[in-house]
């Protein structure tokens, strides 16, 4: 029996798999960041939806589909024509509004990806 005791006392210890420590720390970091990331993602996504809805309302008010039809009827590929079209488009929707919509969606995608990475990543 003493021999068994000795053998049991000398059971070897296997090293932990590479990356396991980092994985746990990453998950724990996510646990801390989760509420912040979730709030940021929700705010950005909501912001994008509100802006998109606002842009859509403006386009409907300005009868944008009719404008597009006219645009294709008289289309000519030259600088002054395109400039005129862009100017009239930006009269309907301000560039700031567009930039804000773009930034919101980019931010939402980035935070969404970060959440996805922390939540589903494996070693």
């Amino acid at each position: 029996m003493e021999k068994i005791d000795e053998q049991l006392n000398n059971i070897s210890q296997v090293e932990v798999p590479t990356g396991m420590h980092q994985f746990v720390m990453r998950k724990i970091n996510y646990k801390k960041l989760q509420p912040i990331l979730f709030a940021t993602f929700t705010l950005l996504a909501l912001n994008f939806l509100v802006i998109a809805w606002h842009i859509n309302a403006k386009l409907i008010d300005a009868e944008f589909t009719d404008i597009m039809k006219d645009f294709f009827e008289v289309f000519s590929f030259n600088f002054s024509f395109i400039k005129a079209i862009l100017e009239s488009f930006f009269e309907i929707i301000s560039p700031l509004l567009l930039v804000s919509a773009m930034l919101s969606i980019i931010g939402a995608i980035y935070t969404g990806k970060k959440m996805n990475f922390y939540h589903f990543s494996k070693i």
């Binding site: 068994i4 210890q13 296997v14 646990k31």
Partner: protein, 181 residues
């Protein structure tokens, strides 16, 4: 000695407050022990890795329950034991693994261990003894727990712990004969 206790207490208080650096100290200190304990019970490095990760995530999530005056090792091993057996139960429900004795014997005889780095005769024999006895033997010999601590971890009377150790050793001795002859 008093200094070490003071440092340990400080680490526990900081972990309880949510300090990640302090938690990382606990992780670094116990991950090897927990991984080896899970590995010998589950006999699969991939599952052992998952359960170890899950254990430490639970430790952090329930950090408010840490009592700096008590031994954290016992608490962590209680979580590890429960997580391991929850994992086995969930796998059993999904019919992914079966842990009846016959199947264990098959797994052990399939040269399952070398891939996991468990190559000694004791490792092979441990894989073939009763799961209840194995838990107690691992906690007593591999992790160096006292009877009282094992009784807390496994929620069983001290006398049962002692009986399990003695019966486990008997079974182990019996299994080891097969490797020696």
């Amino acid at each position: 000695m008093q200094n070490i206790e003071k440092i340990e207490k400080d680490i526990l208080i900081r972990t309880k407050a949510g300090d990640l650096e302090a938690f990382e100290c606990i992780l670094s200190f116990y991950e090897k022990g927990i991984y080896n304990y899970c590995l010998r019970i589950l006999k699969n490095s991939h599952n052992a890795k998952d359960v170890t990760q899950e254990t430490f995530i639970k430790v952090y999530t329930h950090r408010k329950l840490i009592d700096p005056e008590k031994n954290i090792k016992t608490w962590i091993f209680t979580i590890a034991t429960n997580t391991t057996f929850d994992f086995i139960r969930s796998k059993k429900r999904k019919n992914e693994i079966s842990l009846d004795t016959d199947n264990e014997t098959i797994l052990a005889s399939k040269a399952y261990y070398p891939e996991e780095g468990l190559v000694s005769d004791v490792d092979k024999a441990l894989g073939q003894i009763n799961q209840e006895y194995k838990k107690v033997l691992l906690l007593f010999y591999q992790q160096g727990f006292q009877y009282q601590e094992i009784s807390e971890i496994l929620e069983m009377p001290i006398n049962t712990v002692k009986t399990h150790i003695s019966r486990g050793k008997e079974q182990l001795k019996d299994k080891l004969k097969n490797y020696l002859t």
